[in-house]
């Protein structure tokens, strides 16, 4: 499937992004490890048009002046939706991207349709565990099945840059983003929260908090998945997310083989 690499000029700077697939537009916000092309995205692109920006500072890109917090990042992404997508879209955010996506839903409800939060960061009731610097230990923390990770590793300097970027946006927020939690009740979007049962980076309590505070939310645990949920269990995650995006709240119904076919 052809992935189109583009760049758009926003008020704060240039933003590179990928467009892939055809169908309803979906904005995908990547985790703190930067953009990674996963089997889940591959499958979603079969019936959706994915827009995947590289958040400033990640994967070797430059920071944008004045964009120095998660809410500021969300505001910039809102501008990206206006300029690059031009219509309302569903939003998927993974980990750090889920944190940004939640701010986007709060700040730009006019642009967001359905919201999917994959083990979102920003809602940890306890201080996070330290991130191991040893690559093997890091993989053990993030993956339930590190053997499923294929493709090229990112160069050490890019990974270091990504860690710096997360620190840059996160600022003093280590556990719960109280300002955002206070506004979760404003979210009217139908929201799917997915969480791996083996996630050792973000506790289930984070997703439980989101389920409790967002009015129209569903929480689904993905069995035998760690924090790298898209790599650990791509089929299970895709089935849930794709069905949610296409059937809305009716995704909870088992339609068997006689349902109206899923189409975008």
């Amino acid at each position: 499937m052809e992935r189109s690499q583009r760049t758009i000029t926003l008020a704060s700077g240039e933003l590179p992004y990928t467009v892939v697939g055809e169908g309803r537009p979906v904005l995908y916000l990547h985790p703190a490890g930067g953009v990674r092309w996963t089997p889940v995205l591959e499958r979603l692109a079969e019936s959706h048009q994915l827009f995947i920006p590289v958040l400033p500072g990640y994967d070797g890109t430059l920071f944008h002046d004045g964009v120095d917090s998660v809410p500021a990042l969300a505001k910039m992404i809102g501008e990206f939706v206006d300029a690059a997508i031009g219509v309302n879209c569903d939003v998927i955010g993974h980990s750090f991207g889920g944190w940004v996506a939640t701010w986007l839903a709060v700040e730009r409800p006019d642009r967001v349709e359905h919201l999917v939060l994959e083990c979102a960061a920003g809602f940890r009731p306890a201080l996070p565990n330290g991130v191991p610097s040893d690559p093997a230990a890091l993989r053990a923390m993030l993956f339930a099945h590190p053997e499923k990770l294929t493709g090229e590793e990112k160069p050490p300097e890019v990974e270091a840059g990504n860690r710096t970027a997360t620190m840059h946006y996160r600022g003093p927020v280590l556990g719960v983003d109280d300002a955002l939690v206070a506004r979760l009740g404003e979210i009217e979007n139908l929201t799917l929260i997915v969480h791996g049962t083996e996630d050792r980076r973000i506790p289930a309590a984070s997703s439980q908090l989101l389920r409790r505070e967002i009015k129209h939310a569903y929480l689904v645990y993905i069995w035998d998945a760690g924090h790298a949920i898209e790599i650990d269990q791509p089929e299970r995650l895709f089935d849930v997310v794709d069905s949610f995006l296409k059937r809305s709240e009716a995704f909870i119904v088992n339609w068997g083989t006689t349902a109206i076919p899923l189409s975008s």
Binding site: R212, K215, H216, L245, K246, R247, S248, E249, A250, I252, V253, N254, W255, G256, T257, T258, A259, I260
Partner: protein, 380 residues
Amino acid sequence: MPYTEFQGGGEGWPVPNRDFDPRRAEEHFRTYVDTMAYAEECGFDWIGCNEHHFSPYGLMANPNIIGGALAYRTKSASIAICGNLIPLNNPIRVAEEYAMLDCMTGGRFVAGLMRGIPHEYISYNIPPSESWERQREAIQLILKAWTESEPFGWEGKHFQFRQVSIWPKPYQRPHPRLIVSATSIDSAKFAAEVGATMGMVLISDLETTKDLIRVYRETARANGWEPTADNILIGMHCCIAENSEDAKEALRVGHDYFQNTLLAAVRNAQRIVLQQTRYHKDDENRDRWQKRLTQRAGQTLEESIAAGTTLCGDPGEVVEQIRRVHRELGHGIFNFTMKVGTVPDEVVLRGMELFRDRVLPHVRDLGTTEEKAWNAVSAR
């Protein structure tokens, strides 16, 4: 059995259980079993309960457990589980548990084989579109499990068992009486085809019900058997008090809670099932169902009493209401749902005593001499 502390809220499905209080549930279950046992003393021939999932609408996730509790608290009343949701469960497990209950009660067991309503399918992740064929196949399998004299295998569409030989088998031979819900033309035909008693609880109106009974009788004859009045079960909400106004006030409050609070989430689930896609491609079908769902909810208590679909008033009024419904429908089994929503337990108990002392003596002999047994089920 409703969870009457539920305050409502939420627009989706399922109902969040964050405020569930197990201590209140303990009281509800104890009261429920005590009430059902007392129903036997009040002259009810049957006592029974049903199965529901994921909702304060009913706490009976497995009514067979209550059946077990009732087996040794009662001596003569039939215990009617109306019933296990057959398409959702392992049919062999149903056959086994029902056979246990039949043995435990010494043959006082009545086997409800229900199809269930849409939200139950969401709860157990079964495609609603398969409900009919699962029901049909499962009932055949259950009957085989009860009646085959030698071990057998089953290679069906939905169920496969290489060998079946259940222990225990039912106490009653060839098997316990069957009840199948029959609130549509298709289900009335199906009940007759499998030789089951037709069950129609919370009927919408007498004319429609008469039609269903006609279809049931015609189908039974076409299948070589003649139903008696005892093969027709009619269910209604019922409240009996010393004076008419007290009965109506209690049922009005309880019914409002039932319709507007307990059933709200169930209606949400119905909507989700009917919605099918994000874009509501089947608007016409969805709207027709929604209209049907809200029709009953829109009736006042007085309207439903006048329509003959609710029993409510002082004992004399209820006697007349029962006579009228029987005159119209000619049924032999009357299911009284007396714990409707938040109707107080003391009102339920007093209503049962009034039924025993001042209603039953006037209605027990309704029907033909051969069919004079006047059965009634207590609270659902």
